[in-house]
Amino acid sequence: MTPTTPASRWAIALLIALAAAPVFSALAGQTFYVFLLSKMMILALAGVSLNWILGYGNMPSFGHAGFLGIGAYSVAIMSMRAAEAQGGWLATAFVQLPIATLAAAIAAIIIGAVSLRTRGVYFIMITLAFGQMLFSLGVALEPLGGDDGMTLPMYSTLGPADLSSGPVLYYVVLGLLVLALAGSHRLMQSPFGAVIRGAKSNETRLEALGVPTYRYRLAAFALAGAVCGLAGALLANQGGYVSPALAAWTHSAELVVIVLLGGAGTLFGPLFGALAVVGLEEILSQLTEHWRIIFGPILILVVLANRGGISGLFRARTNV
């Protein structure tokens, strides 16, 4: 996708609006929206990472939320240690976020190395099982609250401020999301991206051309896991709380919904998807506490009418 399609114009307008949003919400005294939009952008970031493997590559992971869990728990463990030492280097976001990312990357390499031996539905199921394994590990971690999870003893610090402040977290998340989108664009235009997309359409041919697709796919899987771990680290700070539910398979399914609803394999799809999911959830829950009874059928209708998610809608309109 080049940056001049209707979808990308809308996306860039949306990002500009997001950059201005905290100012307006502060003027209107509605700081809740900063909180909500931070969550939306963190989910978009996780969605961008899932889109690399699910959308561009042929790797329909159903355990991606496991990496959110790893990122979030990494922050929780470091902030526990930092709270015991009353601050110190382990408390800063500059240490916590990279370590959370790295931890998720290492897990993704191990999980990917095994999972990528399988194909199709087996891949969906084995990633689902790995995600569930991480979930059960979280439940078994009694010192970290077990099933109930735990409140962060302290937030990641950033110089004099910390990520408990709504606007600080907001702009950190926005900055990282823009970086991830730009990286996504560069990555998929690169030779590496060409192999990932090529392996989706015809892996056998690429193998025959002498491209070691397994290694490329594993690298993409690890990168996606790493960025999702980063999103998890941010999510822990956004909610001030970690629990195994972050890694539950239903949460993985939500990430898949974000990517597919936005349009799998499109640059800005995850951004639209996250906006649609978080927005719909917010609007429907104003109508009724049983908002899922409407949200579920909407998903089904979207699939039945599906022509490539929200990004596909823009495309369909320009083709007319």
Partner: protein, 306 residues
């Protein structure tokens, strides 16, 4: 000690039998229609809710259970006609997304209809108490009944698929849809029937499990993942594989949880064993699946053509 091992083994087989009832429907629908149905766990839940309603209403466990099976089969067939059949030729991820929408719908629906408190089903009075399976080893009568019912359902399924005319049509539909259709098999009706059968088996699992666990919204999601693990270990589309894998997973999970802490205690220092045991015993079946798939990427009994 022997008594305990025996009892835990029976518990394992009983969990395995329940998992098989769920996995059979999943693997049939996947093997024949190439359809991934995440909402299978919802049918398990709906079956349990129906049973929790019909059993007190009819005053009989058997009558209520049969009504619940029929009602859940009807729900399954309605879903097939309205939604599933439009998705058979779509991407697996589309199927996953739509059936995830169904999960959200059904979880919320049971909350609205039956309330958030959850329900329970009492063990029928004629199955209360213990029986001696072998002299000196008492075992709860209801659990034994679950085990026998599950095995009977498995036998019924085996006979249905491999010994009857309907089963022949099912197998024909699985191996070559177009050819079966050309030879006069009503594929649409057959597919609706298969989903209905799978739904009834899921409901049976749900209502049998209900007196042992409880009936709540979201109960399907916890067990669905185990059922998928069973289907994948067994080889997608293979009923025989699902049966072997279900018993294996049931045994490994139950026996692992019961005895792994002791084994680790004996091998490692107390401190390490206490830390590792809960994590290892809850993840044991996932590790089993990973090992099986690492060695045999298409499961133990890969169905031909998948």
């Amino acid at each position: 000690m022997m008594t305990l091992v025996f009892e835990q083994a029976l518990n394992g087989v009983q969990l395995g039998v329940l998992l098989f009832l769920l996995a059979a429907g999943l693997t049939l629908v996947f093997g024949i229609m190439n359809f991934v149905n995440l909402a299978h766990g919802s049918l398990y839940m709906v079956g349990a809710y129906f049973a929790a309603t019909f059993i007190p209403w009819s005053g009989s466990f058997i009558v209520g259970a049969l009504l619940a099976l029929a009602a859940t089969a009807a729900v399954g067939m309605a879903l097939e006609v309205l939604i599933f059949r439009r998705l058979y030729h779509r991407d697996h991820m589309d199927q996953v997304l739509a059936t995830f929408g169904l999960i959200l719908f059904f979880n919320e629906l049971v909350l609205m209809v039956w309330g958030p408190a959850g329900l329970s089903i009492a063990v029928p009075s004629w199955l209360v108490g213990q029986v001696n399976i072998i002299p000196g080893v008492p075992y709860p009568a209801y659990r034994l009944a679950v085990l026998v019912t599950g095995l009977a359902a498995a036998a019924f399924l085996y006979v249905l698929v491999s010994r009857t005319r309907t089963g022949m049509r099912i197998r024909a539909g699985a191996s070559d849809q177009q050819m079966a259709q050309a030879l006069g098999v009503d594929i649409k009706l057959l597919f609706t029937g298969i989903v209905g059968l799978g739904a009834a088996l899921a409901a049976l699992a749900g209502l049998l499990a209900a007196p042992l666990r409880s009936v709540y919204a979201g109960m399907g999601e916890d067990i669905l993942v185990l059922a998928f693990v069973v289907v994948v270990i067994g080889g997608i589309g293979s009923i025989r594989g699902a049966f072997v894998a279900a018993l294996g997973v049931g045994l490994i999970d139950t026996v692992g949880r019961a005895f792994l802490p002791r084994v680790l205690d004996a091998l490692l220092s107390d401190q390490i064993a206490d830390a590792v045991a809960p994590a290892l015993s809850t993840t044991l079946i996932y590790l089993t699946m990973v090992v099986v798939l690492a060695i045999r990427p298409r499961g133990l009994f890969p169905a031909p053509g998948q």
